[in-house]
């Protein structure tokens, strides 16, 4: 068990150890979906939701695996559960709210290969969080991911209008912006202590 307070877990996951800018998790969607502000907001929301669901599932699986004494199955069962959770969420949203389903589009299935989700499940078991802490951790990580994605999209929308040499355009300039954002987030160090 881990004695951290819920508030410090949230601040740590969202700002100090931001999943994207400090742990480098979920870089692919971070670079891929951050070209437009609107899609970035939707993607952030979808990831937050899946993180919450899979965090709860991972907590349950970990208990079961510990009970039957098979921790080596952790990775395999986590990835299978995340993939099926995403599939389930997709089916559920499709049935209950077709509008939201259309709005999320291709981003929903792509969340399976987002390493931030698997990373979250692994970190929370490594840190030994209890149920409440795990949920707060998932919320914080999701909020941090959404924040980084939205900040990045805001900057990149402005960058479209800037003139720059050909060699810099595309991924290179996105990485430079990400580096500067990451430096800015270092200013949060010590907040959640």
């Amino acid at each position: 068990m881990n004695g951290e307070s819920l508030w410090s877990i949230f601040v740590n996951a969202a700002l100090v150890n931001n999943f994207v800018l400090a742990y480098f998790l979920g870089i692919c969607p971070f670079l891929g979906v951050s070209a437009k502000l609107e899609t970035a907001v939707r993607m952030g929301g979808a990831v937050m939701f899946v993180m919450l669901v899979s965090s709860v599932c991972a907590y349950g699986i970990n208990l079961v695996l510990l009970a039957i004494g098979a921790p080596f199955l952790k990775l395999i069962s986590f990835i299978v559960v995340i993939a099926s959770t995403v599939q389930l969420v997709e089916m559920f949203i499709k049935k209950t709210s077709p509008t939201l389903f259309r709005a999320l589009g291709i981003f929903l299935p792509l969340i399976t290969t987002n390493c931030a989700i698997l990373g979250l499940a692994l970190f929370q078991t490594n840190k030994g969080y209890d149920f409440g802490q795990a949920i707060v951790y998932a919320l914080g990580a999701g909020a941090g991911f959404a924040l980084a994605l939205i900040l990045m999209a805001g900057v990149r929308e402005k960058l479209e209008l800037a003139s720059m040499p050909n060699a810099v355009q595309g991924t290179a300039v996105a990485l430079l912006v990400a580096g500067i954002l990451s430096l800015a987030f270092m200013g949060f160090a010590g907040l959640g202590a």
Partner: protein, 216 residues
């Protein structure tokens, strides 16, 4: 970036393409998370590169030999299961060899599972080619990935801690540029390498255009 299906080529070509022309990091920009996260020292970068190469080689071999038995509808799930199995093996092997390295790489060994590069090679190459070709492809891509990781890890370690593979390079008075081993430095170093490669490519293209425009 999806790759176009290239026509069948020679075995050497399949091996060499991963090293430069389709380098997974510098050209395809795949598998970024481990690239940025563990390249803060050359040793970590090398270990990560080798682990990824092993997983890619084994999963490519298995996917390629099972390619006629896996139903189309469940292929992605099967590939992920195959990859997760080998990653679990690597995870335990690294923990057995060096606990220090295991702690330095942390959760990123487990996260090889979601490295899109490996799944990408299984789906785009191994599921359509024979075992030999799939092995060559995985080896080429793996070595390309390792070299790219070393390029990043080397630069970051030299600038950020003033050493390479743990051996100090500079006299005592050297002030390490600590930002380079922190997260921000990872982004900047990769951006720097991409800039260099884009610049070289652009210059070569410009040169070939010049040649075409001035027929002798």
């Amino acid at each position: 970036m999806p790759l176009p299906d290239l026509p069948p080529t020679t075995p050497t070509d399949e091996f060499v393409k991963g090293l430069w022309r389709e380098n997974p990091v510098f050209v395809q920009v795949l598998g970024m998370c481990p690239v940025l996260a563990v390249s803060n020292s050359a040793v970590n970068a090398l270990a990560m590169g080798l682990a990824t190469t092993f997983v890619m080689l084994m999963s490519n071999l298995l996917v390629s030999s099972l390619r006629n038995f896996i139903p189309k509808q469940v292929r992605i799930a099967s590939y992920i299961l195959i990859i997760a199995t080998f990653v679990t093996i690597v995870d335990y092997v690294i923990a057995a060899i060096s606990l220090e390295l295991y702690n330095a790489l942390g959760a990123f060994i487990s996260l090889i599972v979601v490295n899109c590069l490996i799944l990408g090679r299984a789906e785009a190459f191994a599921s359509k080619h024979g075992i030999g070709m799939a092995a060559l492809d995985a080896l080429g891509m793996g070595i390309g990935f390792t070299v790219a990781l070393l390029c990043l890890g080397g630069v970051r370690e030299i600038l950020g801690s003033g050493s390479l593979f743990g051996v100090a390079l500079f006299p005592e008075a050297f002030q390490p540029w600590v930002v380079m081993i922190l997260p921000g430095g990872g982004f900047f170093t990769l951006a720097g390498w991409l800039l260099l490669i884009n610049y070289l490519k652009e210059r070569r293209e410009a040169a070939s255009v010049m040649l075409q425009e001035t027929p002798e």
